[in-house]
Symmetry: C2
Subunit: 371 residues, 2 copies
């Protein structure tokens, strides 16, 4: 039996903190969680209850379904969701498979997909598990620890705001699932919601990134506390996430284009505040993928690269980067699961078509210091 009194409730204060934390963990992508937060807050005010339970509270045979938005973040900023898409996905999946879902799980804690599971779960009267499949944001559906470690994400259900529903009954691979769902979401107007095939509690305990919600909320709360104390929010993020500032400077060049549904480009930063005479650059595909110093790659995906406004400590998403912004570049270590060989094939530099080896940022740091 699932202990539904375990874990913690999400209130409006925690939603605000989650918004900040999810934006940082979005590493430039994943969409801005602000709109999602407004929808979640509205649900709270209507009396829906949002409970996050720890992985340990989940029975091994629990039936857990992941829910998230799919499509272009920019579309979801302009076209508000109907609201019940996630719930319709879960109900259709239950009917199609003749199952009863016990809990909802998050695919992607970075960006706006942190909010959808809370909204859907509260409407369904279910808890959300305190974990996710990325520990950050990634641009494609197959880039979850769930898929990487063997979960077949079909059958899945995709619902749009108009009322259309599509079941991806079987895909011969996770990449094919992504390909078909991506084409379909474009036909549906660019921003839909998807629920994937159920996973067991046992599988999640082994292959999810644990404590994503509590981590993201704690991170947001640290930033809020630092701001209230007029302390440095960037320092607070580094302390909370075991990260480090790798660069400070002004954006002096920005190449950015939309290609194949992705934002791609490079941002160049002229150093100051201890980085004078250095040029930092960040390579982008929706998310920040590689940070280089004077042309040498130093922090590489799946480690997290976050570009922050140097004054407010607010994370800047890739579509919001502008010439002249004064920024700090942070590196945060990714979860060890993402550093496994199987994961690096999918979410390491090669997974993004980059001819670059992955070096864990902790090691890179050590190697860099002596020089």
């Amino acid at each position: 039996m699932l202990d539904t009194s375990a874990g913690f409730l999400v209130d409006e204060g925690r939603l605000d903190a989650l918004e900040i934390g999810a934006a940082v963990l979005g590493t430039g992508g994943g969409g801005n969680p602000y709109i999602g937060k407004l929808r979640a807050r509205e649900a709270l005010r209507q009396g829906y209850v949002m409970r996050v339970i720890p992985l340990e509270a989940l029975p091994d045979d629990a039936v857990v379904v992941s829910v998230g938005g799919i499509g272009a973040p920019l579309v979801s900023h302009e076209r508000i969701k109907h609201g019940s898409e996630g719930l319709r996905c879960v109900r259709a999946l239950e009917k199609h498979l003749a199952i009863s879902v016990d809990a909802i799980v998050c695919e992607e804690i970075g960006g706006q997909n942190a909010m959808e599971p809370l909204i859907t779960a509260s409407m369904a009267g279910l808890p959300v598990v305190d974990c996710d499949g990325m520990g950050r944001a990634f641009p494609e559906m197959q880039m979850t620890t769930f898929s990487i470690f063997g979960h077949c994400s079909t059958p899945s259900v995709m619902c749009d705001p108009h009322g259309n529903a599509v079941i991806f009954e079987h895909a011969i691979s996770e990449k094919w699932h992504e390909r078909m769902a991506r084409a379909c979401v474009v036909a549906q107007g660019g921003a839909s919601t998807l629920a994937s095939a159920p996973m067991s509690g046992r599988f999640l305990k082994q292959y999810s990134i644990p404590q994503s919600y509590s981590q993201a909320i704690r991170l947001g709360e640290a930033v809020v506390a630092a701001r209230q104390a007029h302390a440095d929010p960037i320092r607070a993020i580094c302390d909370s996430e075991n990260g480090e500032v790798v660069f400070r400077g002004k954006i002096v060049d920005l190449k950015r284009k939309i290609e194949g549904g992705f934002v791609r480009g490079t941002v160049m930063v002229q150093g100051f505040d201890g980085y004078e005479g250095q040029v930092g650059s960040v390579l982008i595909q929706n998310e920040n993928l590689v940070f280089s110093r004077d042309g040498v790659a130093e922090v590489v995906v799946p480690d997290l690269i976050v570009i922050l406004d140097i004054d407010t400590g607010a994370a800047i998403t890739t579509e919001m980067l502008r010439y002249g912004q004064r920024v700090a570049v942070l590196a945060l270590p990714c979860h060890p699961l993402l550093r496994s060989e199987a994961a690096l094939e999918v979410v390491g530099p090669r997974g993004f078509g980059l001819d670059l080896a992955y070096r864990p940022m902790g090691r890179a740091e050590k190697e860099r210091k002596p020089s």
Copy 2:
């Protein structure tokens, strides 16, 4: 109970005739039925039995599913189907809806979609009903009498040759179904197979185009007989279909482009053999839509416009039109169901975005003669 001894069997000779008849009824589109015929013949040679039963043999409560190819005809010429796509669609639909299918029906008798129902039905051990939803070929899914007269074609199942399966669980309209399925078939490589939501025997008796298979086969047999007798196959087509030759001449200009997944264009024909000094033109969107004489529209969709090689009597599909071809243009009256107001909204000139009124070709003929 369904009388499975009713109707007739399709043998190799009838397949050959069907290929010819379906090409004529394709009115320039629907894809060349040759490849489909080869697949159907192979199934016959493997021992599968193809039975076509009359509408009257169908009980009112029979569960009938339509099956057809969806995608670009040219792709299906180059990439041979796996073979079991239609069967997988039917089985997935049966499982999803917990039903048992009694018979298969054809969406589109014109072009290569005449063959798929025979192949699928024979593999499933089911009969094909002697009717279809167009009586010709049309480019989009919602252009069937089934959809026009109120059948909701979802849930439907689409399978590709790779092994992927998608269920369109619910579409808010037939056009939305078309839009999502079209996007998905492109992602699947451009040529998949789709089975639509079941229809009852009662519905089909009222709203299908009856006797499509026997008509197409009889038409093909008339052409074969004319060729064997060194008679005029074009005359044979007109006699069989109550049609008339409206033009003879040489193709002197051809504008054709691929736009939004459709072949669009105009073909100009300089008259001869009684049409000297006249210029005929045919407007194309996959199928032949409008025949005009000296700039005045004379035969208009949904009436059938067929361009034939003047020597062999073979139908020329729109992608095979070439400068210098010597052709006859035939007009064949469409089925009365397609001339209803409801049908003309969808498959009349306005359904194709043409600012043109529909005049039944019989009437046009009468009006033209006195002048």
